[in-house]
Symmetry: C2
Subunit: 250 residues, 2 copies
Amino acid sequence: MIDNTAALSILDSPFAKKLSAFVKLAPSDLTVMSDLYRRRRTFPIGMDMIHQGQADQSAYVVASGWACSYKILQGGTRQIVDFQIPGDFLGLRSVLFRTADHNVEPITLVQASEVRQRDLLYAFAETPRLAMAVLWAASRDEAMVVEHLVDLGRRNASERMAHFLLELGARLRLVGLGERSGYSCPLSQYLLADAMGLSAVHVNRVLRELREEGLLTFQKGRVVFDDYDALVEFASFDRDYLDHEGPLLN
Amino acid sequence: MIDNTAALSILDSPFAKKLSAFVKLAPSDLTVMSDLYRRRRTFPIGMDMIHQGQADQSAYVVASGWACSYKILQGGTRQIVDFQIPGDFLGLRSVLFRTADHNVEPITLVQASEVRQRDLLYAFAETPRLAMAVLWAASRDEAMVVEHLVDLGRRNASERMAHFLLELGARLRLVGLGERSGYSCPLSQYLLADAMGLSAVHVNRVLRELREEGLLTFQKGRVVFDDYDALVEFASFDRDYLDHEGPLLN
DNA sequence: CGTAGCTTTGATGTAGGTCAAGAAATGTGG
DNA sequence: CCACATTTCTTGACCTACATCAAAGCTACG
């Protein structure tokens, strides 16, 4: 009875929602997963979740709030690699490599479940399907990093911004936050700048430009797609590279 | 006896070398691995190994030769995401997602072992340690993509080039190709340009600059580190983020 | 209700792109 | 082994996208 409740509550979590899109998880998978999921922690803004160079880090699954993972270069500049939203795995690499190669810090108040290395190993040994699902989730994250890399390498500032905000929208919709019309977004222009490899000043100009073109409006913590189709066209956004038609594995 | 031979030959492969750095693989793991490894294929230059948008692709483990994975944007520009060298996994995402989100093409003649989705699943179910090792290898690749992303976002052309060539050197050394003094490298300046998000013209200028500074020489298919320490300093290259001191998992 | 962090805008500078064209390599068929 | 073709490398002249610097107007929250 208790197990069942746990399984049900797990099923509602953004993480399970995401994984279920890939493998049809059996009850036993869910049980193991709910163990992974047990130790809930809260991170206020300013308290790093993962710190570059530190050993024996845990991984986390975000339950609520936004975080960002980034690298600091000498000279003080930083590059944000990705933002983490509810349902995202975080710090998997720092567990597998035993020492973190990047930082993760909360952007808003974050609630997350800690995943220890031993638990992960145990879960893998017990339920290969879950292992496969985690591999899949990791690959999906990598796909996003790759798209981000293409942004930086071959798109100009406005296309890059448009593409990025569209992608973020798609990710948020997948876990039930945000609509096709837009979403609420706690990112400052400084954070955007560090993610897009631009200066904050230029981010501002680009946002103004997109607004004046009637494509999208980002103001007061909210992204509004003023003309979704035109925007998709402008950014040459691949509508469904994040989606797929039901579980790949039955 | 035959199994043993297979296991031995597997042990010598660049792939096993890489994985062994992470998990201590048991004989049973090696047997399963040698099954994964069975179907060897050859790809001449010009024959795509993986094609964007196509379904039911296989993954491969490179045995010899170089390949590159890239995305084409409308407008004909492309961004090379990564180069694959012997021992690298390739197309894992296109298997997990059932349809490829990128292209992979050979740069030289490539010999690779095909890995089917069903085989991968089977291997995971049989040997969780191997699953873990594959997850680790995938994460290591992601770490490199991340570093590449930082290159594009926050390093200028010369730092970027220096960092990239150092990293490539480290990867090659890990599988027994290339020395600390340098390595032979089949990449043209066009390929470098597409990887670095630069124009081929500027790649040329940057290489000249690095040569004139006495840092590195890239000519006639060979990269020579003229002053390794100075180069590491210049590119602020983290010497050992690719290395670690023996298997993390015993 | 003051101070610190955001946003907005203007003026000016520069890294790297584009265009063009010649020089080395490299390859190919006879 | 040589003519010819193709790719690759190299360099110069010019231009544009974005950075940097500076300063003012907002927001918000302690």
